[in-house]
Symmetry: C2
Subunit: 476 residues, 2 copies
């Protein structure tokens, strides 16, 4: 493909994208295809000869769009949002064109340095203490991970390295595997599945602790677990506090948890994957009270801050624990400037990394903090609108207080009618929701996901929920 | 940013990209900036108000390009290539616009299914046995990982899960930590640093074995190590065969290693990160002889097959070991079609994933197999051209046989003059190379990296090397 063709092709794609996003609410949000739908639509082998780009363009609707779940549609209320914006798309074009790999500083200084500074910008925007920022002049700073799963794993591995070193000094007679068998970490039972998975990957015990009646993990609960484990000869080393759980967007009592962790030399990681974007609005920062007691902090601008996946922002007060734990240093990756700037390859699981900070830079500048705050506030307001509609109907109840862009609700009554409700909502094919279950109570989650959602869309979604409820009661 | 602005902005970016790539060889390949260069060039905080896109566009040269190492320049010969192509850039635009997360089938059926089929296309292109492909109808199949590092880690974790289960059955009296302390894996001393890192991350012993005089790991060496370890009460469970080492592009004796692994129930993973792309040309497949004995196979189309990072293709014969090892299954991720199509979240470290197969689809169709083969052959031919120039100069010697697009060479004599040579080559600022060292012999690596490299560029690079050598001898 030559330059002239690329100009035509990218122009055609821009036009297609605008058309797609502008009319996205008219598409069926979840496709009705069955597993295996795509294979018969394409040849069994790659073509021997080059095809024209117009042939590929012509296949997009037929092959791809017919099987896409439209996450950017205002009718999509499942999971949590994943971000999408025009500035971010253009930034990725540039990142792809430069196509550098930023594993060390010298491998592309701009790639490392823009990331360092963007994470300082972002850290200031959410009110992170200076002790997390590179601008403080110490070793602390931010890094862009691919996902919150990786950030949690990186934090756990750092915590493990730190604990191993300490215990080895205290008990030189213990083997590595003996120490490993004693390490224990903690999280809310409602923490994301990736936290449990990080424990499995890291090969350490992770205890899921019971939250209070508001689904929050409390300091007292953690304190009791830590004391119990110490009595049993275990070594508490790691805790995850979740700000905005996936099931119901509950917030752990970070301030209390921080005290327990600091008192017992436990690495505290904060997972604010979804809700963290809201902290760019000062009125929500009460939910992150105690953050200065944490060792690492993570949230996903690629969820709720208009930066396309993947952009998971993580800050570490002492990156040395992860840098030193996995430092393998072949000659072909050495350079003269080592130690004068971060070599991000040591801060993450993979070696390679894209120029991802460009997306952050474009989005922050082309929206400005003001418009990003407006965006967050609007989504939260829309969630409250749905909440209002929901409680105005006597048949419904809320499962959880609405603080962010998520509404957890259910029909008053047993789980079965709520399972039936969800089945009918999704079956009608107009909107898409997923359920959750806490302590045997099944409920529905409606997340405000799309950048295009307006109040009229909320009414449409509510009408769908109401109509499905009518069906449920009619069928009883 | 509204749709009209996006059209203008993306058009301006397309034009910029064409200009950048068309004239890339005129740019200084490695920037002369010092650590910390970027911070003073941008404000200390994110802007409060939105800026126009023209302001961002105007800053690209000043802030970003001034600090970029130009990996796509024909003057860039460091590391290994990272791919870049027009079709791939446009595919990423579409992926960003759809912005779905493909963690389960239902989360976006097209995202999963196109990946399944593209990995079948690709597997056939490189002559992988059917036992690796989804089209065989069994559980086997391919997946796109972010990097080869992640693929190696996934393979190691699968091997670990499989071995743990087997040993637990044989020795129910042993604890998990006892078993873990006995597990041992193997790789060539010349394997990539990410293999050692996977061992560290997975918490298992990994032995680096001495290759033969041609830098190949041989079956006999592995056999001896395995027998020794078994005598010492250890449990061999995993081996990595490298096809195309990073240091010198040597190829392990896969066929021999495969026999040893199969005889001892050892999971064999093949890391063909760079060289694997060459197997789309049948004449190079002799180097992957024995691949049918492997359990998992990986190479990076994002290195040498014109698909932008990140696209690391991995095939697993028995994905069940990785799927079951880390299967955490919250209600909000369950769906009705489970088991009828892969849920790729179980095949990888992170939960989230982009629609990456679009890049592969666009590249395979817009080049066709024929042109991709031409591309590989041309790069190898250019490497042989440099080899020819090099050996025509009596002062130089080759360190390693040239089989792919990498030339390993040095000045006859001690390491010091070769260190001096590299320093002068990079110091002159025209081309960029990195060194390597094997068994105390220091040498220079010249990789053919750019899609724009022509024979005339090879002459330019050779002239630079020669001129630097002249300087070295003059200064002596």
């Amino acid at each position: 493909m030559d330059a002239a063709d690329f100009k035509d092709f990218s122009k055609a794609m821009s036009d297609y994208i605008v058309e797609y996003l502008s009319n996205i609410r008219d598409r069926q949000v979840v496709p009705s295809v069955k597993p295996g739908y795509l294979r018969p639509l394409v040849p069994e082998q790659a073509p021997e000869k080059a095809e024209p780009w117009t042939a590929v363009m012509a296949d997009i609707e037929r092959v791809v769009m017919s099987g896409v779940t439209h996450w950017q549609s205002p009718r999509f209320h499942a999971y949590f949002p994943t971000a999408n914006s025009y500035p971010s798309i253009v930034a990725d074009m540039l990142s792809d064109a430069i196509a550098c790999i930023g594993f060390t500083w010298i491998a592309s200084p701009a790639c490392t340095e823009l990331e360092v500074v963007m994470l300082d910008w972002l850290g200031q925007m959410i009110g992170l203490p200076e002790s997390f920022l590179a601008r403080s002049g110490g070793e602390a700073g931010g890094v862009i991970q691919g996902t919150a799963s990786e950030a949690t794993l990186v934090a756990l591995l750092g915590a493990k390295a730190k604990a191993m070193q300490r215990v080895k000094q205290e008990h030189p007679e213990w083997t590595e595997y003996e120490i490993l068998s004693k390490l224990v970490g903690y999280c809310n039972k409602q923490a994301h599945s990736s936290v449990e998975r990080a424990g499995l990957l890291g090969g350490v015990k992770l205890r899921s602790l019971k939250p209070d009646g508001k689904r929050k993990l409390r300091g007292e609960t953690l304190q009791e677990a830590v004391e119990e484990d110490i009595r049993n000869g275990l070594i508490p080393f790691f805790a995850v506090a979740t700000l905005g759980t996936t099931s119901s967007c509950a917030f752990d009592a970070l301030d209390e948890i921080g005290d327990v962790c600091n008192a017992h030399n436990i690495w505290l990681h904060v997972d604010a994957a979804y809700a963290g974007s809201a902290f760019i609005c000062p009125e929500f920062r009460y939910l992150m009270k105690g953050v200065e007691k944490a060792d690492s902090y993570n949230f996903n601008p690629h969820k709720w801050m208009l930066v396309n996946f993947d952009c998971s922002a993580m800050w570490l007060k002492q990156p040395r624990w992860i840098v030193n734990a996995f430092n393998v240093d072949p000659l072909y990756l050495k350079h003269d400037m080592q130690g004068m700037a971060p070599d991000y390859r040591h801060w993450q699981i993979p070696l390679g990394r894209r120029f991802r900070s460009l997306k952050l830079w474009f989005v922050l500048r082309l929206y400005g903090v003001e418009n990003l705050q407006k965006y967050i506030r609007k989504h939260i307001q829309l969630a409250h609108k749905f909440e209002e509609l929901c409680i105005s109907d006597q048949r419904f109840e809320l499962y959880e207080e609405v603080t962010m862009g998520l509404v957890c609700f259910r029909l008053k009554g047993n789980n079965e009618i709520n399972e039936e409700l969800l089945k009918r909502i999704n079956g009608r094919g107009k909107i898409h929701l997923v359920p959750s279950k806490i302590d045997d109570t099944y409920f529905l989650r409606l997340a405000i996901c799309s950048a295009f959602t307006e109040e009229s869309d909320i009414h449409v979604s509510w009408e769908e929920v109401k109509a499905a409820a009518d069906e449920v009661f009619k069928a009883m």
